[in-house]
Structure formats: structure tokens, C-alpha cells
């Protein structure tokens, strides 16, 4: 399974990297920021968990974008970015629906 996925990704390296560094980086950054209010401490004024992700969105995007550009292994790149986005998206969805 892993080998088949690797071969599929390596067959279209440019497209894969475009998707990861383009929409992938934007989606991962936004989902990561959306999940941050859940695990970040609220701080003295009860707002740090909202303000930090709000401010850090562009920085998070930059980190994901550069990672998508420099990572040699496309499989690892897909696993890290999609995995992070999926975990964060799930956490945010659970918080929104009141599960956590």
C-alpha cells in the first residue's frame, strides 16, 4: 500500500508538490490555527488561545509552505501535512460540535 502510494506520488512529483505547497499549506495552516484555541493556555486575560493563532496563521503557513518545498520525500511530506491537517481538522470539528 505504502509502496503503491509512493510510486503514485513520484509519478507526478510537480503536481503533488504544487498541491502540498499551494492549497495544502493554506488548508493545513488554517486547520492548525483553528485547533490551537483548544490546547493553548488561555492566559491571564483569557484571550491568548485566540489571539496567538490569529496572529500566527501567516507564520504557520510559511513553515508548511517551506517544508513542502524542501522535503525530499514526497510520501513523508504528504503524511506530515495531510496527517497534521486531518488531526487538527478533526479536533476543531469535535470542539465545534461540543464533543470536547
Amino acid at each position: 500500500m505504502t509502496e503503491r502510494l509512493r510510486r503514485a506520488l513520484d509519478a507526478r512529483p510537480r503536481l503533488t508538490r504544487w498541491l502540498l505547497a499551494g492549497p495544502g499549506a493554506v488548508a493545513a495552516a488554517l486547520l492548525f490555527a483553528m485547533a490551537m484555541p483548544i490546547w493553548l493556555p488561555k492566559g491571564a486575560a483569557g484571550i491568548d488561545n485566540i489571539v496567538f493563532p490569529l496572529i500566527l496563521v501567516p507564520l504557520i503557513w510559511a513553515v508548511v509552505f517551506v517544508y513542502a518545498c524542501v522535503e525530499e520525500s514526497l510520501l513523508r511530506c504528504v503524511a506530515v501535512i495531510c496527517g497534521t491537517a486531518a488531526v487538527c481538522g478533526l479536533t476543531a470539528a469535535m470542539a465545534f460540535t461540543g464533543w470536547i
Binding site: P37, A44, V51, P53, L54, V57, V70, E72
Partner: protein, 528 residues
């Protein structure tokens, strides 16, 4: 730092080059207009001929505001916002919050009174969703246009903000990839451009300017994309998770101080006494004032002060509206000081350079101009490596036209503003002046000669526009220099002199051979 492999460097070079090429012209537009907008307030003062009253919020403000508030219906007394225009007039805006059928959003609805800042005489009165009509509340159409052009490229919200946000991200991307591509950053900070007109000479100049501007580029891209995305994308998404989509709860937590509702009638404390107390506490003048719940026992007076000595952030003091008690300093976000607020308050001064008066603003203008050079030289470098192809030569010509056309169009916007002042609507003719100026430059670029002759023609055109502008300003009824000196209108004199000096320099520059050959003038050279 671990060195990058050849394939990684190749990818980074492609990202650096293509992101600059695809978005470079728009990025240049945002950075160039932003560089000008750093002095937006001063441009406003210059364009309206200086402020008649430099401190309209001091003195007898209570006597000007209270009679207006007393004759308003209760609904409009939810908030009274008070601020001075660049002309030194006073805007007093009692208003409520209502849904605007055009935008579908809750906006400020009320009556805006424009008063003479000294006498308090009513100059104008307008009712409606005031902040959708800049001509009602702004003194300078030129300032309004330049700021709007920078913030959203004159594209309607939210698309303009999203576009400039993407450009901010592309600026960060160019900065980070440029940094990673540098293998000798310290050496590049002091690289001397190799002589001649070769490709390596252009590259050396680009690398030198980019190395010094690297941190600034990242900072501008980061803070700029924060401003663009925060309200349009990030906050709505984050508030869905943090507040379950409850906008009211979000506003109360982040922005509004806690007040226990008390609708019993009560007279408002003396505004002048509150302003004097607040100014004594903070040490800087009041720039903006909001009275919440005028005439009620739960009234609050909020005063925004410029950053005190040694600090970067504006200060908001809150007073009890009935007895004038000082209730404390309200942080920008949250109800008490926090790390999040400290970080939040840094973003504005870091983006605009508005923290140490004209000096810090001048540094930001210098760095902004350097960033413009980096963007343009990067695109020229990209084109010179590919100038055998007609398409890239055409792109190179577009770069030259935009490089000179944008500042010319901004100057033409100023002409539109001044020429329409006596008899027409400056809020229409200022953007129209920009469009006409841009079209003129495109026509010159499309039909005039090739090569360095085109650049020299643009320099002469821009130089002439700069030199004539102060004369047109005065001819249209603007303050002359003798009166400007007598009245202490520093902005008027400084900007006029700056335009004259800039014009002379451009004319002198036009007589010299340009360093970088325009791409429309191909010359074979080995790949370097």
C-alpha cells in the same frame, strides 16, 4: 545550518523566481503604495493645506458635543464617536448599530456632524451608514485613495483584502526562499556590485539590497497578511471553534469592556475635565474619543492616546461617564494585560513604522523603497536570463512601465485631487487621475521608443510631474509657503520641497545612462 541539496536549491530558486514573476507587479504596487501610505496622515495634512487647529479635541469640546447629544433621539446615543480630521475640523458621530441592507452586515448608522474645530460651528451634517461614504468623514480624498489602494488595491472587500493577503504571503515566501538560497548571507550584506552592465552586476545589486531588506520583507509580509486575513478569514474560522460561532461572545471577550447595563438617566461627566485627566495620566494627546450610552448611568468615556514616550502601542483609557472616575487602561484585546495583547499591539507599529514619530516613519519609507528596488531588480534579473524569448522581453517592458507608471499614476491622482478641489468632486477625480496617469504611462510605454530611451523618457515625465505639483497645489487655492511657515504647517512645506527635490533628481537621473538595460533591448551574454 545544514546545506541544501541541489534538487532542494533548484526548487527554492524556481519558487523564488516564479512567485516573484507571477505576483511581482502586484506586490510592487502594494509595497510602493504602502511606502507612500506610511505618511498617509501627513499627506492628508499637506493635501488639505494644513490643519487649521492642531488640537481640536482639547479646549471646549464639551460645549461642542453636549448640545448635539442633547437633541439626538435616544437610539443614536448608543455611541458618540468624536475625532479630528486632517483639516482640524471635528467629526461628532452619534450612532447606533444596524444591519446595512447593501452589505448584510451590522454597521454604524447615525448622524455625522462636521464642526469647525475652533468655533464649533456646524459645517456639514449627513445621516446614514457613514463609514460607507468616505467623502462624509474624510478630509482628504487623496489620503483615502492611497490607503485604500495599499490595503485592498481598490478591489471591493473582502476580495481586495484576500488579494493583498496573498501578496503578503508571497512576500514572505520570496523572503524565506531567498534566505535559504543564500549560502553566504553575511558576505552578501557587504557585497560590492561588480562593475559594468553585466548580469552578475544586476545580480549583485539585487542580492545586496535583498540581504539588507530580508528581515524587513518578512516582517512586512507577515504583518500585512495578518491584517488582510485576520478579519476576513482567520477570525471567523477561529471564532467558530472558540465561541461556537457566537460573534457577540467573541466581541465581548476580545474587544468590549464588561459593563453592567443600567438604563437609569444620568448626566454625562464634564468631557473637558476627563480629557485633561486622561492626558495628564498618559502624557500624550487624545486622538479619538467614544462616549458609550450617553445620558445613562452606565455611560463610559473611552479615550485613545498616541503611544507615550518609550512605548509602541496606543493607549485606551476608560472613565466612568457619570462621575468621571478613571476606571483603568483597556488593553487592545481582552480586559486585562496579557501576552496575547502585548503581541497584538506590536503588529500595527511594526507594519507602519508609526512608533517614534517622523524618524521611524522615514526609516520605514527608506526600507520600503529598498523593497521596491528588490522586487523590480528581481524581475529584471529574471527577464534578462530569458530575454531571447519575445514574451519575456514584453514582460520586461511591462516591468519598466509599471516601475515608473505607478509613481506617475499616484502623482496624477494628486493632480486629480487638486484640480477638482475648487469645483468638482475630489473623491471621484482622485482615482480617475490615477487611472488617466496609468493609461498615459501605458501609452508611452507601448508606443514610445525602446531601450534606455524609454526609461529616460519616464524619468523626465515623472520629474516634471513632481516639480509642477506644488505649483498646481498653490494655484488651486492651497496654502502658500509664507503662510505655511507663519502657521507652522510643517507637512505642507516638507512635501512641497520633497516633490521639488525629487523632480530635480529625476531630471538629473534622466541624463545618465541607466544601470540595468531594459529587457526590450536584448544583448547576448553568457549565462552566469
Amino acid at each position: 545550518m545544514k546545506s541544501l541539496s541541489q534538487s532542494q536549491l533548484k526548487r527554492l530558486t524556481a519558487v523564488h523566481g516564479w512567485s516573484g514573476t507571477v505576483l511581482g507587479l502586484l506586490l510592487y504596487a502594494v509595497v510602493a503604495t504602502g511606502t507612500v501610505a506610511v505618511f498617509a496622515h501627513e499627506i492628508a495634512e499637506w493635501s488639505v493645506g494644513g490643519a487649521k487647529n492642531h488640537a481640536p479635541l482639547a479646549g471646549d469640546l464639551d460645549g461642542k458635543v453636549r448640545p448635539i447629544a442633547e437633541r439626538m433621539t435616544k437610539g443614536y446615543l448608543e455611541e458618540i464617536a468624536i475625532w479630528a480630521t486632517a483639516k482640524g475640523d471635528l467629526n461628532v458621530f452619534p450612532h447606533a448599530h444596524a444591519r446595512n441592507p447593501e452589505s448584510g452586515k451590522i454597521e454604524n448608522y447615525g448622524t455625522l456632524f462636521r464642526l469647525d474645530g475652533t468655533t464649533g460651528a456646524e459645517l456639514a451634517r449627513n445621516e446614514g451608514f457613514v463609514f460607507t461614504k468616505p467623502e462624509w468623514f474624510e478630509a482628504s480624498a487623496l489620503e483615502d485613495f492611497l490607503v485604500d489602494l495599499h490595503v485592498q488595491l481598490y478591489v471591493p472587500r473582502p476580495w481586495g483584502l484576500i488579494l493583498t493577503g496573498i501578496l503578503g504571503l508571497s512576500m514572505m515566501a520570496a523572503g524565506v526562499t531567498g534566505f535559504l538560497m543564500h549560502r553566504h548571507l553575511i558576505r552578501d550584506l557587504f557585497v560590492a556590485a561588480r562593475p559594468g552592465n553585466r548580469l552578475v552586476t544586476a545580480r549583485d545589486r539585487h542580492v545586496l539590497a535583498a540581504s539588507w531588506g530580508l528581515l524587513f520583507a518578512f516582517l512586512l509580509g507577515f504583518t500585512g497578511s495578518f491584517f488582510s486575513f485576520a478579519a476576513t478569514v482567520s477570525l471567523p474560522l477561529i471564532s467558530q471553534v472558540a465561541f461556537g460561532g457566537d460573534q457577540k461572545a467573541m466581541r465581548e471577550t476580545l474587544y468590549e469592556p464588561a459593563v453592567t447595563p443600567d438604563p437609569r438617566p444620568a448626566a454625562l461627566a464634564d468631557l473637558d475635565a476627563v480629557i485633561a485627566r486622561s492626558t495628564a495620566l498618559t502624557g500624550t494627546p487624545v486622538r479619538f474619543l467614544v462616549v458609550d450610552h450617553y445620558g445613562r448611568a452606565d455611560a463610559r468615556i473611552n479615550l485613545w492616546h498616541m503611544p507615550p514616550q518609550g512605548t509602541l502601542a496606543w493607549v485606551r483609557n476608560v472613565f466612568d461617564g457619570t462621575d468621571g472616575r478613571f476606571l483603568g487602561v483597556k488593553p487592545r484585546v481582552g480586559r486585562q494585560p496579557s501576552a496575547g495583547n502585548a503581541l497584538y499591539e506590536l503588529i500595527w507599529p511594526l507594519h507602519t513604522g508609526d512608533f517614534a514619530g517622523p524618524l521611524s516613519k522615514a526609516v520605514w519609507v527608506g526600507l520600503g523603497a529598498a523593497m521596491c528596488y528588490v522586487i523590480l531588480s528581481g524581475m529584471q534579473l529574471w527577464v534578462r536570463r530569458r530575454e531571447e524569448a519575445a514574451l519575456w522581453r514584453g514582460f520586461g517592458r511591462a516591468v519598466t512601465i509599471t516601475a515608473y507608471g505607478l509613481p506617475f499614476a499616484m502623482t496624477a491622482a494628486a493632480y486629480g485631487f487638486f484640480l477638482s478641489l475648487p469645483a468638482a468632486d475630489p473623491f471621484y477625480w482622485t482615482p480617475m487621475g490615477f487611472v488617466l496617469g496609468a493609461l498615459a504611462c501605458i501609452a508611452v510605454g507601448a508606443f514610445a521608443g525602446d531601450g534606455s530611451g524609454l526609461i529616460q523618457r519616464f524619468r523626465r515625465l515623472l520629474g516634471a510631474a513632481c516639480i509642477v505639483l506644488p505649483i498646481v497645489r498653490m494655484a488651486m487655492g492651497g496654502l502658500d509657503w509664507a503662510d505655511a511657515v507663519a502657521q507652522g504647517q510643517g507637512a505642507v512645506l516638507s512635501f512641497d520641497l520633497m516633490f521639488l527635490v525629487l523632480g530635480v533628481l529625476l531630471f538629473r537621473w534622466a541624463t545618465r545612462q541607466p544601470h540595468g538595460r531594459p529587457a526590450g533591448d536584448p544583448l547576448p551574454e553568457p549565462a552566469e
